[in-house]
């Protein structure tokens, strides 16, 4: 990257920069060493304590009283696949939305293609909101799972997940919530959301490093593990031990990642979850309103900023979104994401398929001046393109 300044507006992909404490925690974990459950010496015990502390802290952050209900995974995609493929069986019906990230859509599409399951999508409006008026009629006797994203990674729109959770709970159907865009931003609680499983990404909102995510499971929910192997417990047994969390955590844990995640969450708690969200949502609102004033823009996102996360999508008439993103970077040093954002279904709802959008996602360290700079840059592109 050299010495030139960059303006980072891609926190929805991965948060950057991290708080200093996160970098230090990763370094410290690497230097401490030790692998939980693999030996009895002091390094192992230190790592085991670190793992326990992290699990307890992260579980508490997500409103989970039993730490063993929190499984650390590689990322949200890993957790989603673990949940989907561990729960569903042949003949099951799944209720989901068209706005899902590919890590929900692709596993479901593959299982449907292979004749294992059937899938129904809850209708979505052209504004990217869910239409839950006919929800009860979409449930079938063999509906085995409801899956929904908490917020769209394209528009930032929060989905009516409380309604989905309530409808699923009333019919004793498990509800899997993909909180990849809301973890570390909105308070999450299985109880309030009536979710049986919540998936989060460690490297977005929670400000942890890449390589860590999590699956939170309601007690008593049984999943078939996708991987079986060394757990450091009951090694004499030839089959995977049934006790949580070992049951779903075979193999060496990403200790540096988990330590970094804990430090990220500690930082959020010290500054205040609400105050970080307030800052990000306010910047996203300013972006949205500023973009609307630029001739030739179409802006996609919730009408009420309180109903969203800090993600804004836009297009400029007649310009390819990839080119706009490229110009933003090459000329102005602004980093963002363009295209379909691994959520083609959301774009089909919005009418931006296949061309996609430019997506901007400010973070905790983004400033008002950064937003002003970005708006000037987009205005210049629009002007030079003859749009205004």
């Amino acid at each position: 990257m050299g010495e030139t300044q960059v303006y980072y507006f891609d926190n929805a992909a991965t948060s950057w920069p991290k708080p200093e404490a996160v970098y230090r925690a990763v370094d410290r974990a690497l230097r401490t060493g030790g692998s939980p459950g693999r030996s009895g010496h002091q390094r192992t015990l230190a790592a085991e304590r670190q793992l326990y502390e992290a699990r307890e802290k992260v579980a508490s952050f997500f409103g989970v009283s039993k730490p063993s209900s929190l499984i650390f995974t590689l990322n949200a995609t890993d957790a989603l696949n673990m949940a989907i493929k561990g729960l569903l069986k042949k003949g099951d019906h799944v209720l989901t939305t068209p706005c899902e990230y590919n890590s929900v859509a692709r596993p479901l599409n593959a299982m449907a293609r292979d004749g294992l399951i059937t899938v129904t999508e809850i209708p979505c409006t052209g504004q990217g909101t869910l239409d839950v008026t006919g929800l009860s009629s979409l449930f079938l006797p063999h509906t085995a799972l409801v899956i929904a994203t908490h917020a769209s990674n394209v528009t930032g729109q929060l989905m009516p997940v409380e309604e989905l959770g309530a409808a699923a709970r009333a019919r004793q159907v498990p509800f899997l919530l993909d909180a990849a865009q809301t973890a570390g931003v909105y308070p999450l609680s299985l109880k309030t959301l009536q979710a049986d499983m919540v998936v989060f990404s460690g490297h977005k909102g929670p400000l942890g490093p890449q390589g860590v995510g999590g699956l939170i499971l309601e007690e008593g929910l049984a999943l078939r593990p996708w991987r079986e192997g060394g757990t450091g417990s009951r090694s004499h047994e030839v089959l995977q031990p049934q006790v949580m969390p070992d049951y779903l955590e075979a193999g060496t844990m990403n200790m540096p990642g988990i330590a970094g995640l804990q430090a990220g969450i500690d930082y959020i708690e010290s500054v205040g979850l609400d105050s970080i969200r307030f800052h990000e949502v306010r910047l996203a609102s300013k972006l949205r309103e500023g973009l609307k004033k630029i001739p030739g823009t179409r802006v996609y996102g919730p009408a009420d900023p309180e109903e969203g996360v800090a993600v804004v999508s836009f297009t400029l008439d007649g310009l390819d979104c990839g080119d706009v993103g490229f110009i933003l970077e090459e000329v102005h040093g602004i980093l963002c994401r363009t295209g379909l954002h691994c959520a083609p279904g959301a774009h089909r709802c919005l009418g931006t398929f296949p061309q996609g959008t430019v997506r901007l996602s400010p973070g905790f360290s983004t400033t008002e001046e950064d937003v002003d700079y970005l708006l000037e840059a987009v205005a210049e592109i629009a002007f030079e393109a003859g749009l205004g």
Binding site: T4, L319, D320
Partner: protein, 92 residues
Amino acid sequence: MKKRSYFTFPSIHFAIRAEKILEARGCDFKMVPVPRSISSSCGTALRCAPEDADRVLNYLKVADVPIESYHELEEKNSQGLFSFLARERKQR
């Protein structure tokens, strides 16, 4: 209107491999977003002048880098815009 050559790849892995090989060969090229008029598995394409395309293709073949497609396109509106704005590149 200026013509440009675009190579696309099956995945970003091969696009980066192509970049590495051509950099080592001192070729004149740029990694750019795939133009929307081309469909591609990977969002990053290799752009060069049409007169350099044969040379690029040879290097990639020798290094066993799979190419998904090759296109020659006339520079369109937003790319012309980019060239204009690049001349005004801000110092930061």
